[in-house]
Each structure stands twice: as structure tokens, then as C-alpha cells.
């Protein structure tokens, strides 16, 4: 069935007022068009006109307000999730940075003493020292036993 002119004009008006990506708008228009064509096919020739069927379907304003509200809510949910993820990543990054300290002068005295003892007693190649004062892993080094 070919679309009557009034139907095309109605759907164009709805399309112009819809927000969102083109694919989403195209699919909405296709869905609405399918409904209206179903209604037209069901209606006998002596029945309500195309105009009356469109009026019964709802004004473009009522339809698009509903869809745009759904679109707005979806974008808000997405923005909230992105914000939460960003905040979580920032916190995680900060904690990681402060937990692992590179080799250098930042090693505290108790950790350096512990590291020295580990080298002399165990002669192990890699030493990870746990700073007893802060409880942090403060040093990762490569050491060859003497």
C-alpha cells in the first residue's frame, strides 16, 4: 500500500521533532508508519478518512514529547554511568600510584633496613619491601646475591 500524502506529511513532521541518532529516528518512523498503514488497511473505504485516523493516532507534539523524554532519560543514565566510571578510575589510579613507589630515595628508613637484611640473609634477586610504618609496598629492586 502506498503512503497517502497526509500520512507522509504527518510522519515528516514527527521526524523533524524527534531527537537522537538518525537510525533511531528512522526506526521510530518505520514503526509508527507500520501502525498507521495497518489501521488504514483495516478501514473500509466508507470509514474514517486518513486525516481522522492520524488524529486518532495522536498529534505529532504528543508523540514526539514522549519519545524525546525517553531519549533524554537514556542519555542521563549514560552520563551518570560515565561519570561514575571516571570517578572510580581516578580514585583507583590515585590509590595505585600511592601504593607502588619506584626505586629511589623515597624508600623509608625502616624499609631500607628490612631490604638490606633480606639481601644479606636470603641473597634473593628481587626484593619487595613492606614498609612497617605505612604498610605499603615501597620498593621493588633487582639484587644479585654476593
Amino acid at each position: 500500500m502506498t503512503e497517502p500524502r497526509e500520512l507522509s506529511e504527518y510522519l515528516d513532521e514527527v521526524d523533524r521533532a524527534l531527537r537522537g541518532r538518525r537510525k533511531r529516528r528512522r526506526e521510530i518512523i518505520e514503526e509508527l508508519c507500520g501502525h498507521l498503514l495497518d489501521e488504514l488497511e483495516k478501514t473500509p473505504e466508507s470509514g474514517p478518512s486518513v486525516r481522522r485516523i492520524i488524529d486518532q493516532f495522536g498529534s505529532p507534539r504528543v508523540i514526539t514529547d514522549g519519545f524525546n523524554e525517553v531519549h533524554r532519560a537514556k542519555r542521563l543514565r549514560f552520563a551518570r554511568s560515565a561519570l561514575a566510571l571516571t570517578a572510580f578510575s581516578a580514585i583507583g589510579g590515585y590509590m595505585t600510584q600511592n601504593t607502588l613507589t619506584p626505586t629511589g630515595s623515597e624508600v623509608s628508613r625502616p624499609a631500607a633496613r628490612a631490604q638490606s637484611e633480606a639481601r644479606s640473609v636470603f641473597g634473593i634477586a628481587n626484593v619487595i619491601a613492606l614498609d612497617p610504618t605505612t604498610g605499603r609496598v615501597v620498593h621493588i629492586s633487582r639484587h644479585t646475591s654476593e
Partner: protein
Amino acid sequence: MVIGALGFSPIRGLLFLRMGGEALKGHLDLLLLTSIEAGATHGYAIAEKLRQTSEGTFDLPDGTIYPALHRLRDAGLVTSKWSNDGRRRRRIYALTPRGQKSLTEQRANWKRFERGVRSVLALPSA
């Protein structure tokens, strides 16, 4: 006038909202989920079912169910997929397990609400 043109007026959608439509809007989700519960179906069939099973009481502008269906889909209460019957594509909606659970809860809430109203209005139980 405006009320006299309720049948097929260009502002029928707005009238629907003003004259009790707000009450229906609050329960539209329940009505839509119930309509889909019997089996996966498309928007046109849902609108027809609502009209027929309500005996014309819920004669809402058909187009208003589509944003509601999309909202239910975004909420994970229904799924939708395109289906082609040879003539045209139709979006078919089906209830999810979460949607079934929500429907059960909404039904229970409605029954509680209805009992309360009947009690206040001193009407006999249904």
C-alpha cells in the same frame, strides 16, 4: 466545542491527558505489560487489545503507547526485535523475566489500591 469534538479531534491527545488521561498514564505500564504477557506482539495488536479488553474505556491515542513501549524496553522489562511478515517490518515486543516480575508486583499494588478505594467508597468487594 472542544468536548463535543472528543471523538476525532486534532487535540484529542491533549484532551485525553486532561480528562482522566493522567490517571491512565500512571497505569499504562501495567496495561502494556499485561497485554504483552500473553505472547510477543507488535504495537498495533497491543493497542487493539487494550481497546477491546477494556470495552472501549481505554481508548487512548494509539501513538502514545510507542514511547511507553520504548521506555519499558530501555528499562529491561521488555525486549523488541524486528519481524518481517512479507508486507512490512514490525517491531515485536516480548516480556523479559524482569518484566514478568515487575508485572506481578504492579498487579499486587493495583489490587491493594483497588481494595483501598472500594473500602473508602463503601463498595462491595469485586
